[in-house]
Symmetry: C2
Subunit: 396 residues, 2 copies
């Protein structure tokens, strides 16, 4: 008898695009709606209203058909003109995108460029702003730095910005609806996000929740923008029912609408707690494997867990083995961290068993590369967290 083949199923365990709930996937196979027909306009209006709840804001959440970066660019392009003074604080690949964007717009940039894995807090922002000769028009930072797993101190960042008389603009693409960010309570003037992370929808929609103050700054000056112009989109969405200045990506709105309803039925506090439990389990699994966690993995880093890979093995092989031998698509390190870390995502539609799968695929791959660990260690460590949290499938 030849060796039996156990089915090698495919698992998307990446930090974005994230897995979709079946109802979200399936609604996209429905007949395509016309964007100006009442049936679609009702869906669009409901989803826009639900976005406000998820952003925890009274702002209109401006929506674009684009990747998340498009909405990031909308903030830079609406707030800054060449020669304007701006500040960026970053500690990883996605934070650095703010600096790249600012440079593309030829602004006078002060860039607090921390080590990858550091956590940005209010003090760091306060020091940066205190050292600048001129108050910047805006400070740009990130909620969850996907390249390192660190969730930054957005509350402190926003407070420091306010104290120095400027506005905070936060990239919450990977963190919104995974890590708490009560925009209005914390006084964050601009929050950017995308559809493909904790919002449990496919990539292709991006959002900018813009305060009145930020909108006033943006509308002071026009030009050099059209598709991502906040005023144009705000004008469309202010109609009743809300409209869009350009053909919206209708299939993605169908998906987002279903996903947002699921999130709000579950309840935002429950959604954050679900992410917290999954993250605790992932951290326990990583610890159980004897790996050192990467970055400032404090208790709030609930979006993605990054772990150092043992120096004794060829780390670049880990994500490859996880995928090719065990069917699990997980993320390795980016840029200088390539081959040095692995990232376990738990952002969006992840269940407890998904964490067991990711951790076990990691354990298997480490063993295949000669790293010594008892089979089942990672799953057992995570499982203890889930049982302690009250259930192997704590929510839903």
């Amino acid at each position: 008898m030849t060796q039996p083949q156990i089915y090698n199923k495919e698992y998307l365990m990446a930090a974005g695009p994230t897995p979709l709930p079946p109802a979200v996937s399936q609604v996209m196979a429905n007949p395509i709606p016309y964007h100006r027909a009442p049936a679609f306009m009702e869906i669009h209006e409901r989803a826009l209203g639900n976005l406000k709840k998820v952003f925890q804001t009274e702002n209109e959440v401006l929506s674009f058909a684009s990747s998340g970066t498009g909405a990031l660019e909308s903030a830079v392009g609406n707030l800054l003109f060449p020669g304007d003074v701006a500040a960026v604080a970053s500690a990883g690949k996605f934070g650095e995108r703010w600096a790249d964007l600012c440079r593309s717009y030829c602004v006078d940039l002060t860039h607090l460029d921390l080590e990858w894995g550091d956590r940005i807090d209010g003090e760091a922002i306060d020091r940066m702003l205190g050292s600048m000769e001129q108050t910047p028009r805006a400070v740009f930072a990130t909620l969850s730095e996907t390249s390192t797993g660190v969730v930054h101190d957005v509350r402190g960042i926003a407070e420091a910005a306010q104290e120095h008389g400027t506005i905070a603009v936060i990239d919450a693409i990977s963190g919104l609806a995974a890590a708490d960010l009560p925009q209005d309570d914390w006084g964050v003037d601009v929050v950017i996000s995308g559809s493909q992370k904790a919002l449990m929808a496919p990539p292709g929609l991006a959002f900018a929740s813009v305060s009145e103050k930020a909108m006033a700054i943006a509308t002071e000056r026009e030009g050099n923008r059209f598709y991502f112009d906040w005023g144009r989109t705000a004008k469309g969405q202010a109609q009743s029912p809300p409209s869009s200045p350009f053909t919206p990506a209708v299939t993605l709105w169908l998906a987002l609408d279903v996903a947002l309803q699921q999130i709000l039925e579950e309840g935002l506090p429950q959604v954050f707690e679900r992410h917290a439990i999954l993250a605790r389990a992932a951290r326990a699994g990583v610890d159980g494997l004897g790996l050192e966690r990467f970055g400032v993995q404090f208790e709030g880093s609930n979006v993605v867990t990054a772990a150092h890979l043992p120096e004794s093995i060829d780390g670049a092989q880990v994500p490859k083995l996880m995928r090719d031998s065990y069917g699990v698509t997980a993320a390795g390190g980016q840029n200088d961290l390539k081959g040095k870390i692995v990232r376990i995502a738990h952002c969006g539609y992840f269940g407890a068993f998904d964490i067991l799968i990711s951790l076990t695929a990691l354990e298997n791959s480490l063993r295949d590369l000669g790293y010594e660990v008892e089979p089942g260690t990672a799953a057992a460590a995570a499982q203890r967290v889930f049982v302690e949290a009250g259930s192997p499938a704590p929510v839903g």
Copy 2:
């Protein structure tokens, strides 16, 4: 016995988003792929290769997650800086978008603003360029003007641009793969399109096919652009396999890939002929109803057929009745043409019976508003065209 209710089915008969083939809709319900996994990269590479065939070009077709307008803006933002000289020729709502975009970028604009319904040809461009003191960096025009149904003379426009030492940039969002536009043969330097018209995919992907010459002009100067920067996207797509600088809208790529394969299996000449037959039938139906066709509806206007509504009726009610009483979503007139015209689309996944449905819903609505016409007139007129063309379902 109460009056029996005949099922009122819903039919999307608009000029974009257009109906999707079932296989295109259904593939979006598949498990969502990771954009950096080999399975997706293969789909992405195949679709990018097939786009080149549909654009009839050797250029790399640069792709963006956005509405079509995003790719239009990419052309303006990559080619023009404030103060640059540019020329736009338009004869309808979508052509005017080029002028709006150029104004947003503060360029020195010459705008040939023809009557809605006119057709732009090489002579008109030649006269405009001859009258300008300085040669513009680019001339912007439209293939199919969806607001009027007119397909412009892109070949002549491109020739005139070349003779005057400038480049032609063509918005082919609604026309590509419906009206022939052999980009390389005609020497069109930039062709823009979107996923949601004759490409039979949902909205949310937009394309710019950029010649070497246009790319050289774009890369002369940097700044004021990031997401829509041609150089950045070209660099990503030049990798093997092609990559994307930002998370691609993966579900839309799955859909586009299926649609492009269907188009190329059918064959481009057959696709154009299919559109031509559907358009002839639509024109015959409109003529049969005794309506005057709007605009220069010459034989090549195969994307959408616009018809004047009788002055004796309240024209604004026509699209409303077609939708509410007969389930057919069709387009009325835009801006000044609101209530004055109706537009029958035949662009993308339309069959012969779809034209009969659109025309019959129009006929019913006209009768409901008191216009006198013998029942079945429109369908009969269209049906004679289909039979003459060899079949009631001429292709597929």
